[in-house]
């Protein structure tokens, strides 16, 4: 066990865990930020996506000792003072989530995409959205990304 400080959603958080613990479980079990999900633990499903210095990464395989100097953003950090970000609002407007379990990871990638690309094309959306959604919300994820970027809705 080691006392370490990480920056999560703009706040310094001090925890006492094994430095080899994956960030996912520190966020969830120690810090109570349960929005970030466990789906596979083997870097395939993207349910555990967070931003590390602005890039979407898999928290299931990022070790604590490797995230001490970076800025971490979780799904709980997407809204500002309770005001949802554009992409979150678009997910509501398109009624995107079904069970919702994959959606935090989906949102982290979708938010990243729309922040960096004013008008992502279908091909760019396909390439960026590597998440697994077993409920099959893909059409509504696409529609929400288009809505958030002011593009015409899709079928």
């Amino acid at each position: 066990m080691t006392v370490m400080t990480i920056n999560v959603n703009g706040v310094a958080r001090t925890v006492d865990v094994d430095p080899a613990t994956p960030l996912l479980w520190v966020l969830r079990d120690v810090l109570g930020l349960t929005g970030t999900k466990y789906g596979c633990g083997i870097e395939i499903c993207n349910a555990c996506n967070v931003w590390i210095d602005g890039s979407a990464e898999k928290a299931c395989h990022l070790l604590m000792k490797d995230v001490l100097t970076v800025k971490i953003v979780t799904v709980e950090g997407l809204a500002t003072n309770g005001v949802l970000s554009k992409i979150q609002q678009a997910f509501i407007d398109e009624q995107t989530p079904q069970c919702g379990f994959c959606q935090s990871g989906v949102l982290m990638r979708a938010a990243k995409l729309v922040n960096g690309n004013a008008k992502p094309t279908d091909a760019q959306i396909d390439a960026a959205m590597a998440n697994i959604c077993a409920c099959g919300t893909y059409p509504r994820i696409r529609a929400a990304i288009k809505r958030a970027t002011g593009q015409a809705p899709v079928v």
Partner: protein, 716 residues
Amino acid sequence: MSDQLFKNGAELINTNVSRRAFMAGSVGTVLAFVLESSMPGSVANAAGAGTKISGYLTINPDNTVTVAFGGAEMGQGIMTGLAQCVAEELMVDWSQVKTESAPWAQSYITGGSFGVRANFVAMRTAGAQAREMLISAAATSMGVPASSCTASAGVITNTLNSQTRTFTSVAADAALLTPPASPALTPKANWRIIGTRANRTDIRGKVDGSAIFGLDVQVPGMVYAAVRHSPAIGGTLAATPKLPAGATHVINLGNAVAVVASHSWIPLDYCAIGISSTSSTWRDGIKWTAPAGAAAMTTAAILSTGNTLMASGTPGSPLAENIGTAAANYTAAPKKFEGTYQVPFLPHVMMEVPNCTVSLSTNSAEVWAPTQAAGWVASTVAALTGIPTANVTVHITLLGAGLGRKIEQDFIAEAVKVAKIVGKPVKLFWPREEDLSQDQYRPFGLIRVRLGMDASGTPTAFQARNVSVSPLFQRGWIGATGNDNVDGLVDSPYNIPNKLVEFVRHPSTIPVGFWRSVGESMNCFALESAIDEAALIAGQDPVAFRRTLLAGKTRELGVLNAAATMIGWDAGAPAGHAYGIALASGFGSLACLALEVSQPAAGSLTIHRACMAVDPGMAVNPTQVEAQMQGGIIQGLTSALWGKTTFANGKASSKNFNNVRLLKMSESPAIQVQIIESGIQYLGGIGEVGVPPVAPALANAYARLNGTRVRTLPFF
């Protein structure tokens, strides 16, 4: 089944109402109701007839209302659909409505696509009773007759002098009144909320990270446990391994080992990772003892037994369906088709792994679980602890999908056992590897279909034999007849004068369970593939062939023609592409799917478009009907293309998403959904019917593309 759907009655339990009204006075006034549910179907029957649905309305201090039910919200929008029914009659605006799960032990089973349709009248009645009680209390308070009062947006106005009362201000008095026996229900023409695209009530929390699934539950003093089961299903661990570093407990559960620590990682790391997943030797040199009969739990042996039963097995009695003289007619038919279709064991693949949090006290228990069967959870706790079910509180969390898997009690029981030993609240969860290798799978099955046709190619005899493993039989719920396993073969909508459907139970002990759309998921593949194959022999177009067989069936023709029109069937597919179509009827609804596919290279398949016409009688919420169809198509494609679990001496092949492939966004087709509302009297379920037509539509499209008929799933 439709005749059973409207037998529900709602009664407001007055004693409960008043007691709870006082108890909850500070946070709002609670109006409780208990509904007698008639949820037909085997799952409900097994749970016991007359299952009660508990629920309540809370009139909050800010004049909003909270509607609570003991059902499972697993993404299908059930909370929203039911709340729409209540809110319609209660005369509140949709923006005033919140929902939550009722934390009551005796709630109901969520399955069989019955969530909304079985409670449609009951929920409206409950809302109407509450409205009349509120109006009555307001009328008394204003000194006017109730007949001069109307309610709108949670405010009661009397038309004599325009005085008003909010629901909140009269709720406490209303809760003391006797509920009216038969309150007036709002006619369909005046509906404001039912039938609209009301936003779901559970979505905000699912986009800001605040939604609490079972896996997210945290209670004070809680510890975390993960499990690892015998790789051969049902095997046992010969001894208890050493305590892993950082863990507080290692527990031998017989067929599994549980590891407990102050957070999830150490148990997960120990149980999921580091040891070859099928090795018979566990940690510290301790071996798993193979279960009795492990050799028979092998895919090739199971198939061979299935083939023998197909050829010479004795069908369960009575026959699943026997109309006319199908066998003789088939033998004598001048044109005939016979084909045998094969479907694999199939894992559920819910994004949220099985998990359960348990807190035990001397004579009471509290459980938080993503469960489709909270009443069974209470029974499981009682059986393992001796605590009476009345002292067991079950909190139904959000479910990261259920798909039929979360009706089961295996993961619940493990959490209870571990909590007993640890003496603290425990959250037990399964690593993904355990979820996929220790599932209660959609049954393996062989389905032989024979169609006898007259000289002009019109079918006169339909004969089907389903050889499959029975979830109901494994649970001791039925005898030798098929029941769920023949759904989708019996009562088919096709006008064929002679029909014979047989079920032969496959004795495999691979655990099987209820998988979204149950028997339909295998039988629709066989039947709808066979119809296309017979059409080919008859020299007819598959859509025209179906139209002939559906003469006079307005609803079936409605979805068939709509799907054909959407895809552009008559114009034909673009060069190098092909269309395929399939019809499903079940869960009180009809769904017809047309697909457009192409094959850019050998061994690959591109699904370009999916056009679904669905007739649920009436859409309580069209957005949710569309979402269920979209999701059903995507899950159906995933299953048809890649879905299977094979077994070697009881060891499952499926482990994690590195060998269980799911369709990704880039692989999903453009989906178009058309809802046909043929009448409220046909109100049907929507959670499952979107899945069954997918595999046969794909096989039919594939056959029309390149002449190759796929009769064994999955494709790849």
